[in-house]
């Protein structure tokens, strides 16, 4: 669990792809591979892949979701998927200058 590192609301957290992780586009979405742990994770929709890819460009998940035109009613589900990705070591909380 990364809970200790993460703001209580994942939507308000800044995220980035963890070092050593590569994303490969696939027809269904993307594959994420962690070269260090050799873990492989399926991102099952193109939208999720877009959001994950752009995490580092946005101050928080909420902004990343809005920029990817994800409807707010799905944000909770995205939030959960992101926390699962963080638990798998694929993404990590990012220090931001504003914090």
């Amino acid at each position: 669990m990364v809970a200790g590192l993460v703001a209580s609301d994942p939507l308000a957290q800044s995220w980035e792809l963890a070092p050593g992780v590569a994303l490969r586009p696939e027809p269904f979405g993307a594959l994420a591979y962690h070269f260090g742990t050799r873990r492989l994770t399926f991102l099952k929709t193109p939208e999720l892949a877009t959001v994950v890819r752009s995490l580092g460009d946005h101050p928080d998940l909420r902004t990343a979701l809005a920029a990817a035109h994800v409807e707010p009613r799905y944000w909770n589900a995205y939030s959960k998927a992101l926390v699962a990705l963080a638990d798998a070591g694929m993404i990590r909380p990012r220090e931001t200058s504003s914090v």
């Binding site: 590569a22 696939e26 594959l31 591979y33 070269f35 492989l40 399926f42 099952k44 990705l85």
Partner: protein
């Protein structure tokens, strides 16, 4: 797992046999290796393949053979691959894993090493892998452990003769900080000649299944035992044949097959040199397009275990002469045994690099006839993709 079945832009589990040359001549060799093929890819051609894998974002490649380390440019290709973001897992019989090479490997990131061992004792191992091969493998594993190479793999093909040694294999691995990897014996290559005598009995399969459930967390299987799911719950990992969908083989001359266990012209999709490159063969070949279209599964679709087993292994059916749309020869429902007893024609091999004259250390495999050689597994006494935790988000 719908996303698998329709195919991916690049394979997940790509095996690349670098050479058919081998210092050993194991009786069950999946690629009938021994002699080097004169058409073997050159260093420059191999580098071009790696460049293409990098462009396709193939995250890692399983390098095998033959014995890959007998290629003089093996260590160069390994470094070249890692430097191009293609991780390497290689399988070896250990012959070249000197203390120096072991410390070189310990200093290299993104390399996994699998040392093959098919018996927990020299007696059981050398009978199939050849005289001295047990000592060679253990020396390699000890060199790796002493060099501080973390988490080497001991790769075991489960046979009728070693199925009773699973705990001993586990101990051999634990003692060296290594991980045990168990895989299924398929009737591929020279394996076709010995499969009848060497494949585990139904009772052993059941014991193996229980053993995997009890030890599964710490043992790798390359997802090769999904046909045992019918004994109860599914084993973790990919529960379907990935040939041409997630799995693929590039052979030493650049031929692309649907699976490392399916080296036969029926499963040959093309060649990386002559058919426009690996990406084109992977994405566009007729064979792979076919394998990705919905498959018919005949009698299996009525089986209650179909969701978990999907009719088992394509290669196992093909090389035992069973129909591809029927049950696996080791079907836990017993349908395979019945099918094996019926009329069938075992297909002739379409290639063979076995040495014609036996070497001094070549195994002399004399079928022992009735009864298992090793004691059966005591009551209660491998993710896809070998070592890979697979999950979906």
């Amino acid at each position: 797992m719908g996303q698998f079945e329709l195919g991916l832009d690049a394979p997940i589990c790509l095996t690349w046999e670098l050479t058919y040359a081998c210092n050993l001549s194991c009786v069950h060799c999946l690629s009938s290796s021994g002699r080097r093929d004169p058409r073997e890819l050159s260093t420059a051609q191999a580098e071009a393949v790696i460049d293409e894998l990098q462009r396709m974002q193939v995250f890692y490649v399983n390098i095998g053979g033959g014995e890959p380390t007998v290629r003089p440019d093996f260590w160069h290709l390994l470094d070249y691959s890692v430097a191009h973001q293609v991780g390497v897992k290689f399988s070896t019989n250990g012959v070249r894993l000197t203390p120096d090479r072991a410390s070189q490997l310990a200093r290299t990131d993104y390399v996994d090493v699998q040392v093959s061992l098919d018996g927990a004792t020299a007696q059981v191992n050398d009978r199939v892998r050849g005289a001295g091969s047990y000592v060679t493998a253990l020396r390699a594993l000890d060199n790796l452990a002493e060099a501080g190479f973390g988490n080497a793999k001991i790769s075991v093909v489960v046979t009728r003769e070693n199925a009773g040694q699973l705990d001993d294999f586990k101990r051999l691995a634990d003692d060296r900080g290594a991980t045990l990897r168990l895989t299924r014996l398929r009737p591929s290559g020279r394996g076709a000649d010995v499969w009848d005598e060497l494949h585990p009995t139904m009772a052993q399969q059941r014991e193996l299944y229980s053993w995997l459930l009890a030890n599964g967390e710490n043992v790798l299987t390359g997802d090769s035992f999904f046909h045992l799911a019918g004994f109860g719950e599914s084993l973790p990992g990919l529960n379907l044949c990935g040939a041409g969908r997630v799995v693929c083989l590039i052979d030493p001359i650049g031929d692309v097959y649907a699976c490392p266990f399916a080296i036969h012209e029926n499963f040959l999709a093309g060649n990386v040199l002559h058919d426009g490159g690996f990406a084109k063969v992977w994405r566009e070949s007729e064979l792979f397009t076919d394998l990705r279209s919905p498959q018919t599964s005949g009698a299996c679709t009525k089986c209650q275990h179909f969701d978990a087993c999907r009719g088992g292994c394509m290669a196992a059916k093909f090389f035992t002469g069973l129909p591809l749309d029927g049950p696996d020869p080791e079907c836990v429902q017993g349908y395979g045994e019945a099918a094996l007893a019926g009329d069938r024609v075992v297909p002739a091999a379409s290639q063979d690099h076995s040495r014609t004259a036996p070497t001094k250390s070549a195994p002399v495999f004399v079928p022992l006839g009735v009864g298992p050689v090793a004691p059966p597994v005591h009551a209660c006494a491998e993710s896809p993709l070998a070592g890979l935790a697979l999950e979906t988000v």
